[in-house]
């Protein structure tokens, strides 16, 4: 079984909330089976933003935040880019005079699910945000 996860699943793995147990179960399953976990390449950048928001709004300390980012980066995930994002990037960077080194800006209005919905339709529960093949 192969999983692909997005930043919302990664966030739920660390921050206990409604679907956290399911997120942990996905990773435990991969741990048992030895299959790789796939991830869009923006996952880490979006995870940092989630952690920053948890610091600002839910009093997560910098020590804990740094530990979370270190542990996410320690997971042996296989990162993949969506080819279309690069085609979109060159158009957006030209249109808004942006640097192509700001991938967080590589999204046009109306394409909010470009990474979250990688082969899926939403950012909700891990069962929707991840997919199996």
């Amino acid at each position: 079984v192969t999983f692909a996860v997005d930043a919302s699943v990664a966030g739920k793995l660390f921050f206990v909330e409604e679907y956290s147990d399911r997120a942990l179960a996905l990773f435990r399953d991969a741990d048992r089976s030895g299959e790789e976990i796939l991830a869009p390449h923006l996952l880490a950048a979006e995870f940092v933003n989630i952690v920053r928001r948890k610091m600002r709004q839910e009093a997560v300390t910098l020590v804990r935040a740094s530990a979370a980012i270190n542990e996410l980066l320690a997971l042996p995930l296989q990162y993949h880019a969506e080819p279309d994002i690069y085609r979109e990037a060159i158009l957006l960077t030209e249109r808004y005079s942006l640097s192509a080194s700001t991938p967080s800006m590589w999204r046009s209005p109306g394409s909010r699910d470009a990474t979250c919905g990688w082969r899926t339709s939403g950012c909700g529960a891990p069962s929707a945000a991840g997919w199996r093949s």
């Binding site: 909330e17 990773f27 804990r64």
Partner: protein, 63 residues
């Protein structure tokens, strides 16, 4: 419009990667328990809502 789909080759984790996965997950479980304990056991707000807000904010920053 048709989207190009990336063909992905999935390979099993190597023994070192499997050990890394297992050890990292164990540390993550301890960390999430510590994060929860910091809040007196009160669950966090929705990460999906956080992500939606982050993406909305990013889109608003576009000129």
């Amino acid at each position: 419009m048709a989207r190009q789909v990336e063909r992905i080759t999935v390979t099993p984790l190597t023994p070192d990667q499997r050990r890394q996965m297992h050890d990292t997950l164990e540390r993550i479980v301890r960390l999430r328990e510590a994060l929860l304990a910091d809040r007196g056991g009160r669950p966090f707000g929705s990460v999906s809502d956080d992500l939606a807000a982050i993406r909305d904010e990013r889109e608003r920053q576009l000129p």
